[in-house]
Symmetry: C2
Subunit: 400 residues, 2 copies
Amino acid sequence: MNIAVAQSGGPTCAINASLVGVFRQALKTPEIDAVFGSINGIEGIIKDELIDLKRVIRTNEDMELLRQTPSTVLGSCRYKLPAQSEDTEVYERIYRCFEKHRIEAFFYIGGNDSMDTVVKLSEYLIGRGSKVRVVGIPKTIDNDLPVTDHTPGFGSAAKYVAATVQEIIRDSSVYSIESVTIVEIMGRHAGWLTASTCVLRANDEIAPHLIYLPERKFSVEQFVEDVRAMMAKHKAVVVAVSEGVEIPEENCRSGVVDNFGHEYLSGVGKALENIVRREIGCKVRSVELNVMQRCSSHICSKTDIDEAEFIGSEGVRAALDGQTGKTMVFRRISDIPYVVTVEATPAVNVANKEKFFPSAWINDAGNDVTEAAFRYFLPLIQGEVNIAMRNGMPLHFKLK
Amino acid sequence: MNIAVAQSGGPTCAINASLVGVFRQALKTPEIDAVFGSINGIEGIIKDELIDLKRVIRTNEDMELLRQTPSTVLGSCRYKLPAQSEDTEVYERIYRCFEKHRIEAFFYIGGNDSMDTVVKLSEYLIGRGSKVRVVGIPKTIDNDLPVTDHTPGFGSAAKYVAATVQEIIRDSSVYSIESVTIVEIMGRHAGWLTASTCVLRANDEIAPHLIYLPERKFSVEQFVEDVRAMMAKHKAVVVAVSEGVEIPEENCRSGVVDNFGHEYLSGVGKALENIVRREIGCKVRSVELNVMQRCSSHICSKTDIDEAEFIGSEGVRAALDGQTGKTMVFRRISDIPYVVTVEATPAVNVANKEKFFPSAWINDAGNDVTEAAFRYFLPLIQGEVNIAMRNGMPLHFKLK
């Protein structure tokens, strides 16, 4: 039998590690012959644009390099599979592609939108009596998928954000005058990545002094009061704010939406900067960590990269066990020592759903997170990958 | 005799390494007793706010940690010393502070503004018959100081920018649709840091496809033509633009100036993003690397950090030789193998002057740099510092 794998949605540092997980497990599995990579997610299956991964990933060094290369080596897509009732043509094309290449299992590495594809496609194939199994491998820096303890890609993003915010703290505190620095962090409507900055307290950092998440209603008045209170205690105040925080008084939505109807968010940091300048009048700066949060693999979390590979390999085992329409998920056994296992859950439990940061982990004032959050986050950023360098820069794997 | 050292101007990853250079060389020098650190640059001397560095830097581990901690451990300032003719009071206070603490040499780590202080203060002290020597140790991520081959802090900034732009290249190229990504890079009115992105070609990257520097007049019309031409060849076009590029047609100056009359620049990347959206209409994003360029020590250049320490130690030797009113500079002996020496030059040659990126190193089209620029930059980003990690994050040295 042959298998196929595709990558979808926004980049992370760990999507390629999950691809390596699928690939390496396939190499260990005598029943599996070819491993096809689908170019630009499910679009590659629809258009029959496949590459034989054994021809491009040729050595253990290639696998290691690919594991530490950010983004999606096979490209990505934001394609939403139509309902079967609307369009059977595209399903027919996918079916024919699988038939043509003797593909009996398809692995889709992606977020909650991609799990929608896993659900629809597996239902179609079952309905048609096909034996092709469809298994979803989660990924997202937003950490907003239900069921799973956390998502591959999140730990590396959190590690980059923590290291960078720590450096911004050093940078912000050099002058003798009072200042406020606002750091805007990704996560869409979920505050996980912003909340994860609390890990800095493990290294005795007091900052970020204030943390604002989209899960709590934002009040401009309260924010100004919070900042003033912190300025009374600290010369250089650092604020972490999630891009998903809504400030109805300020216009900081882009109005642009993607194919799934998600609005691109931006500008909350700038809005808070303007509020501080207007209401307090001190030196203030906002910093947007931008796409670096999802692609800065040079400081990725070894825990994250290893887990991303592992969950990919477990996906292959689940498919060989005959499972389909499933998403692989992490279950945390304990924080200290940190232990997780991998399980399969019906993809319908994950598809198109968001998991928000728990309300119980936000402090009463709505401007910080609790000790329980700290315990949850800290294990996810542990360990460093030995990054291959050439000419003073990280070396990336590229398709020839 | 005692000595004092201070740090001034904007943060870099290498200012603390130069401080360690001064400190370690002082420890090796039997004539030197106390090493005082002045808090917030020359302001600490004026206000008599000094700390005994031997009490806070106690072990070799402390020195190594401080070497890899970004920003200025002693704080910084943007204080401009008045002319002697305008105000002798402040000079008198500095003189008294030196007398009181038996300080016979003062080391000022900073940029071209700080070298202005070195010139004025050394002239005052000579005029007064004082034997206190004043020596400047350069630093700036902008690399815009005259005489010296390059400045400490630049190599680490260039390494961070190269690694990050490479990751942004991976990030930008995942989707099947055409896109343009604009990366705005610091450097004030000099294009050095933006130009340094050409080092990516050592790792077979084609991008950044276009490089725009303030040293060449910018034409919106030509820019749009350049981008269209690159889009015909590459699906995902990446553009590096210096914050100092002026676009008269677009309003991207902040209008805010610092104590030296320098205007804060921002928004060129956003302006180019708007131009692409308006004129070409494809998917476009701008990314501002912001303060991370000057404080991301987690991926600093070992060459830079070692050189920053070395030039600090050479400053101490120059002062002990009786030199004053000097700035320490690098002279490059060869590119391959890379060899530099350190010399002292009159600070007046460096103070208040800017060194621009050579016109001869810009291509005729004004949208890229030459092979000579590549040979200049590549040695400066070589080598990695073994960053101390704790709890999954870099460990920073802090004053207790």
